[in-house]
Structures are given as structure tokens and as C-alpha cells.
């Protein structure tokens, strides 16, 4: 067993800052909320202005007047931890949450597949950083020791249980996550490091502080098992992303939408699914909701085939956002799946570059995202003699095709006019030569679309070939001539 702990020291800040890509210039801090709010975390710009952790919010605002301040959001932090745990499930099968700010992953079984510890850690770190977090990774044979090393910023991994005791010797007891009263009592006795606590008699420690302290020491040194509840991604996906500052323009939400696409893609991968339909809600500021008339602008996203790639999801969201006008500023984005379908992984190409031919986003999805769902149509044939009803337009290409193999015996033009047009005037000016026909089409008296027509192929004086018919509304051989198509 080898555990990797992912510790996120700036998580309260990151749950807001990851929604925007220019978080470094603007001073930004997160307060604790409540009656006497304190600063919980501050970004680099705010810290250079003198804002410190534990400072009163009023004092921080006095130091940096332009400080953007949001209240701490424990739910968002849990969601972020879950999202990171979901992401680590693409590296391992066993991940576990350690609230409030860490995730554990068992990586002993994944080292060979990912090409060694260094590459695995680099890939995990890169992926988490791409999600807008600054993780601190540490590796140890026991989960508790991995957490201690991550909190104490030990960078070199510990791979064997024997090496745990010397590595943990100088670590502070506080990193074990013990009760604060226990820590105070021990500190008063001069016991501040794990090594000092190990040197004390075990039975005396257990009598004085209860079994918890001794157990924690044993678990950290991998002397007793330390079972962790495995994290399972939820059966349905629903997440929110709060922005550091309200956005006035839908196009500016593209960066946040990309973050949501990352989370959704990780969840889909962990559950082996592809998304078919989803809803992206742009939640407006509370005091604007009455004026707008609705709490959020909801965009329905539809995919022609189950989708999972980050680029595909993000592109569809970008296109939808680009043609959305915001009635009011947006402070939060929420993404939820409406319909999913199992999607197996694609086999890798034999040679590098083999899989490059697979399109990132299907063309039809990209066109529909910008032009509307009905802008791209396919055709299917129907078993009907009437030309208007012998084909239907469909927006689902999987339904297109020749459902009944309708190959008419008589010629059919490649172009159909949307509506037949009368050509009596053109015929009066110059005669058209009949080339083929007539073909009688008489059908539909039962469904209201009654037609009785004689279709002919005719050549116009200019050399074009037309599909014309006589419409016998009253009887036989008494109708007017109509143009219905061109033999293009």
C-alpha cells in the first residue's frame, strides 16, 4: 500500500478564484462570515497589501480598500474536494475524502501503468493545477503519515514502513489532526513532536489521553491498519461554480464553463458514461432576480452522441454562451446532467498519432450549438407516393436513411421546390418539351392531403429539366400545370 495525500492549503480561496483566469491582479480574500468575520484566506495581491489570516475583516478592508471579499463556502469546498477525488479516480480505484482540505489516493497499484512514481505524481499535480488548485502532494505507506507529510511540506516520498519512524520524528503533533485540548496539554509538558510522543510510555499515554492518541501514533507508523471509506462518485452530476466577481457578459463566462467541463469530464470518466443532455444555469445576483423575473438563465445543452471529452463539452458550452445575452450579472454557474448513456473507452491507436483523426467535437454538434438545434437536418424516406410526404426532415442523424427502401420506379428530381409553383404563364410564352411521363400519383384521400396529379419530366426552352405536374382537382385532364422540382 502506498498512499498519496493531496493537501489543498488554499482551498477556501480557490473555490472562488478558479472561476476566473485573472485572479492575480485583483486583491481577493475569503472571510469566515458571522458576526465577527475574520479573514480565512487571501491571495498574493491581498497579502502584499498587509491582509493576514485571522485578521478582522474590517481591518483588512481598511488596509486594502479595493479588497474583493466573499464569505467562506464550506459546501463549495466539499464539492471541490469531491471533484478532485473524482479526478484521482482516473489514476487509482481507491480515493478517499479527508475534510476539510485533503484527498487521499492509494497509488501502489498504479505505479507501473503510469510509468513510475515521478510521472504519476507529475500527472496528478498537472491535472489538479489545471483545475485551478495549488495542491501539495506527499507519499507514504500509511494514509495518516501521508497527510502529515503533506501538511509539513515534506517533498521526498517515503516508500517503506521502516523509514516512517525517522521521517515522522520531527513532525509536529498538530499535523496528526488531534484534539486541540490534547495538544495543549502535551505542549505544556514539552511534547510537541511525534518523536517526543513516541518516546513516552505507551500505557501511560493511553491512561492519560485515552486510546485516541496512541492509536493515531500507531496508524501513522503503519503498525495497525487504517481503513478509509472509499469515495464513490455520485450517481448524478450536479455542481456549481461561484465567480469571484459578478460577470456582466456571457462571453466572459467561458473560462468558468471550461472548469465545469473539466469536472463533468472527470465524473463521466469515473462512471464510464457520456453525456447526452445537460443544463447550464447562469444564476443571477439575488437582488436582480425580481427584476429579471427568474433566478437563473438556463441553457439546455444537447449532444448528437454521448460526449466525454473536455474540449467537446467546453466548445459546446462556449458556443452557447457566445450567443446568449445576459439580462443581469451572473454570480454562479451550475451544471447538471439531464441524460447520460454508457460510453466505453476508445482503444488507443497502435502508433502514436493514430487517434488524431478522431474529431474532437463532431461537426453537427458544433453547428447546432451556434446556429440552433433545427439548423442542421438529415433526411429519411417514408413509404408514401406523395413527394411532399415521401421524405421527412430529422435532427437525429441516426434516424436518417431509407427506412423503407423506397426507390420509386419513375424518375425523381434531385431538387424539390418547397411549394409547387404555377407555370401557366411560362408555358404560354414558350412550350416545354415533355420527355417522360405521365406518372399518376393519386393518394391521401384518407388523411386530408388528397392529391391527384400527373407528373411529367419536361425540358424547358433554356435546356433545364423540370418535374412538372397537372393538378386534377375537379376531374381528369382539366388541371393547371405546376412546377415541383428540377433534375439538377
Amino acid at each position: 500500500m502506498l498512499w498519496c495525500s493531496i493537501f489543498l492549503p488554499a482551498l477556501p480561496l480557490e473555490v472562488y478564484a478558479r472561476g476566473s483566469d485573472d485572479d492575480t491582479t485583483q486583491p481577493f480574500a475569503v472571510g469566515s462570515g458571522g458576526s465577527r468575520p475574520q479573514i480565512v484566506a487571501a491571495n498574493a495581491a491581498a497579502r502584499t497589501g498587509g491582509v493576514k489570516r485571522g485578521q478582522a475583516v474590517a481591518g483588512a478592508l481598511a488596509l486594502v480598500p479595493g479588497l474583493a471579499l466573499r464569505d467562506r463556502d464550506p459546501k463549495a469546498e466539499t464539492r471541490a474536494l469531491e471533484s478532485i477525488a473524482t479526478f484521482t479516480l482516473s489514476f487509482t480505484s481507491a480515493a478517499s475524502l479527508v475534510p476539510p482540505s485533503a484527498v487521499l489516493a492509494e497509488i501502489g497499484g498504479s505505479l507501473k501503468f503510469f510509468g513510475g512514481l515521478d510521472r504519476l505524481l507529475a500527472a496528478m499535480k498537472r491535472g489538479i493545477e489545471a483545475r485551478g488548485h495549488a495542491p501539495r502532494l506527499a507519499v507514504a505507506p500509511s494514509p495518516l503519515a501521508a497527510l502529515v507529510f503533506a501538511r509539513t511540506q515534506r517533498s521526498e516520498p517515503v516508500l517503506e514502513s521502516r523509514a516512517l519512524a525517522p521521517a515522522l520524528k520531527d513532525a509536529p503533533l498538530a499535523a496528526l489532526g488531534l484534539d486541540s485540548r490534547v495538544l495543549e496539554t502535551l505542549a505544556a509538558a514539552g511534547v510537541r513532536t511525534i518523536g517526543a510522543a513516541e518516546a513516552l510510555p505507551r500505557d501511560g499515554l493511553a491512561r492519560r489521553f485515552g486510546p485516541g492518541l496512541v492509536e493515531a501514533l500507531d496508524r501513522a507508523h503503519a503498525r495497525i491498519p487504517d481503513p478509509r471509506a472509499p469515495y464513490a462518485p455520485p450517481p448524478s452530476f450536479e455542481t456549481k461554480l461561484a465567480l469571484p466577481a459578478p460577470a456582466h457578459d456571457a462571453a466572459a463566462l467561458g473560462f468558468a464553463a471550461h472548469r465545469l467541463a473539466q469536472d463533468l469530464a472527470a465524473w463521466l470518466l469515473a462512471r464510464g458514461l457520456g453525456v447526452q443532455a445537460a443544463e447550464l444555469a447562469l444564476v443571477h445576483e439575488p437582488w436582480q432576480r425580481a427584476r429579471v423575473g427568474r433566478p437563473a438563465t438556463v441553457l439546455a445543452l444537447a449532444f448528437a452522441s454521448p460526449a466525454r471529452a473536455i474540449g467537446h463539452l467546453a466548445t459546446v458550452m462556449h458556443e452557447r454562451l457566445a450567443r446568449t445575452a445576459l439580462p443581469a450579472p451572473v454570480e454562479t454557474l451550475a451544471l447538471a446532467t439531464r441524460s447520460t448513456a454508457p460510453l466505453a473507452g476508445a482503444p488507443l491507436g497502435l502508433l502514436p498519432g493514430d487517434e488524431a483523426d478522431a474529431p474532437l467535437v463532431p461537426l453537427v454538434d458544433r453547428l447546432r450549438a451556434r446556429l440552433g438545434d433545427t439548423a442542421v437536418v438529415s433526411y429519411a424516406t417514408r413509404a408514401d407516393h406523395r413527394p411532399e410526404r415521401a421524405q421527412v426532415e430529422t435532427t437525429d442523424a441516426t434516424h436518417a436513411g431509407t427506412d423503407p427502401p423506397a426507390t420509386p420506379g419513375a424518375p425523381r428530381p434531385l431538387w424539390l421546390l418547397p411549394e409547387p409553383v404555377p407555370i401557366g404563364d411560362a408555358l404560354a410564352a414558350a412550350p416545354w418539351a415533355l420527355c417522360d411521363g405521365p406518372e399518376r400519383i393519386e393518394s391521401g384521400w384518407w388523411d386530408g392531403g388528397d392529391v391527384r396529379r400527373d407528373y411529367c419530366v419536361a425540358q424547358t426552352p433554356q435546356g433545364a429539366r423540370a418535374w412538372i405536374f397537372r393538378h386534377h382537382a375537379r376531374g381528369t385532364d382539366d388541371g393547371d400545370w405546376w412546377l415541383h422540382g428540377w433534375f439538377a
Partner: protein
């Protein structure tokens, strides 16, 4: 035009025996480093048209598979789509889609299916604004799953056409712009421009090669659309001899129909006897 026959470019098309001096000269000149004025530029990704006479007139022996083609169409309904159907069918068999952008009429699905097209790989894009059509055209040309893009665009902006040509080249798509002859601009960026007009004999289509990468072609290529039976590439089809012109105009005209209908039966009988 070194050898008297101004029409066809490539030496391999000339039926000459190796014994004659001209053949020996042609074999010597067939070296890839030698370029002659009458030759067409090599087109690596060409797409057989299905009509041998037209293949011989086009650079590379077919439609440009990675580039833009401009079609100047005198009027609709002269067999312009039927001319493209063999190439579209071969693209679909290569598992690539066909996209028509802003077509002027509604495509007739039973006719397309009867011509061998797979309707599941055929998409029509309708655009409310001209800008949308341009955007959709560029996206489709660049999409790897899309093999042929037919666009009926209203623009004659040279920069736009240049951009579409680059998109077709990068996306390895067979892009076709359908335009009216009056829309012919100045310097067009499409490497191939054809004019389509009905031939004076029925059932034939005259293809004027207005611009190609190679020597100019003075006379139109006459294509017999009804002889189109090339389904699989590689099967040569002997072109049907051109039919003799009809001696007199076809009496079965619409006007004749009208005359028959309005004539009383008795007079018709008398005329028949």
C-alpha cells in the same frame, strides 16, 4: 501545347506505341522533374469524377479532394448535382460526411437514396444570416469527418473565399461553391473554376473549364450524365457514343398536349383518319 492536340494534358493519356519517335520523346519527357506548358499541375488528393472525359481535363484526374471548386451555373436543373453524385458516393464509402449549406431548394431524399447516397451521412445546414453560412462553411471544410461541402453563398468577398480555400486545403475537403455566372469576380482564389451549361443535345452537360492549374482548355468537355455507371473506382466504363441530333423537334410538347385537350373529339378523329 507542344504536340498538336491542345485538349488533354498528360502524356499517359495519349495512345501511342513505343516504337514511334514521338512516343520515345514522350517517355523521355515523362520525367517528374520536367514540366511542360500543356500539363496540369499535379493534384495529390484528387477525387475521380466518374466521367472519364472530365477526369482527363481536370488536374490530377479528378475533383480537387483538398481544395475549393467554383461552379458557375447558368440555371438550375441542368444536371449539376448529378454530375457530382459519383464523387459524393465514393466519399461516403470512405466514411466521410456530406454537408450542403444553404441550398436553394429542398433536396429530394428518395432521389438521393436511389442514386446510392447514404442519407445518414448527409446533412443540410440552413442559415438565417449570410454570416452564419460562411461560418458553417468554414467549420465544415475544416472538420475531418466531413468529406464534401457544397455551399450556396451570397458573398463575393475575395478574403472570405481565400479563407475558405485555406480551410478546404487544411481540412482535406472537397469544397464546392455554387454561383451564378454574373458573380464571377476578379482574381478568384479557388484553384478550379468550371462553368456548367446545357448542351444543345438533350441529356448532355457542357462543362467549361474556365480556370485550372495547367494549360487553358479551349473547348468544353461534354459529359453524358446518363452514362454514369461508374460505381467502384477502377472500373473503366466505355463512354457512350453521342446520340445523333433529333431530326425534327419533339412533337410531344406541352403546347401539343394543350392543343389535343382543347380539340373536340370529332375533329381529332377526323384528323387521325
Amino acid at each position: 501545347m507542344g504536340q498538336g492536340t491542345p485538349s488533354v494534358g498528360h502524356p499517359r493519356d495519349r495512345k501511342l506505341t513505343l516504337s514511334s519517335p514521338a512516343a520515345r520523346l514522350a517517355a523521355r519527357l515523362a520525367h517528374p522533374a520536367i514540366w511542360r506548358g500543356g500539363d496540369c499541375a499535379p493534384e495529390p488528393a484528387s477525387l475521380p469524377t466518374g466521367f472519364p472525359a472530365l477526369d482527363a481535363a481536370l488536374p490530377g484526374g479528378g475533383w480537387p479532394g483538398a481544395g475549393l471548386t467554383e461552379m458557375l451555373l447558368a440555371r438550375d436543373g441542368i444536371g449539376e448535382i448529378a454530375l457530382m453524385l459519383p464523387a459524393l458516393g465514393s466519399l461516403q464509402r470512405a466514411r466521410r460526411d456530406i454537408v450542403w449549406i444553404a441550398p436553394p431548394y429542398r433536396p429530394c431524399a428518395p432521389a438521393l437514396a436511389a442514386a446510392g447516397l447514404d442519407l445518414a451521412r448527409f446533412h443540410v445546414v440552413r442559415c438565417a444570416r449570410p454570416d452564419d453560412a460562411l461560418w458553417a462553411c468554414e467549420q465544415a471544410l475544416r472538420a475531418p469527418e466531413c468529406g464534401a461541402v457544397f455551399a450556396w453563398l451570397a458573398t463575393r468577398d475575395e478574403r472570405v473565399l481565400r479563407r475558405l480555400q485555406v480551410a478546404a486545403r487544411d481540412g482535406r475537403s472537397f469544397g464546392t461553391l455554387w454561383r451564378r455566372p454574373g458573380d464571377r469576380g476578379g482574381a478568384a482564389s479557388a484553384p478550379l473554376r468550371l462553368g456548367l451549361a446545357p448542351h444543345e443535345r438533350g441529356g448532355l452537360l457542357a462543362v467549361h473549364v474556365l480556370k485550372r492549374r495547367g494549360g487553358a482548355l479551349g473547348h468544353p468537355v461534354v459529359v453524358d450524365l446518363e452514362a454514369r455507371s461508374v460505381v467502384a473506382p477502377g472500373i473503366a466504363v466505355r463512354p457512350r457514343p453521342l446520340p445523333a441530333p433529333p431530326r425534327r423537334p419533339d412533337p410531344r410538347t406541352v403546347a401539343a398536349h394543350e392543343a389535343v385537350r382543347t380539340t373536340p373529339v370529332r375533329r381529332r378523329l377526323r384528323a387521325a383518319s
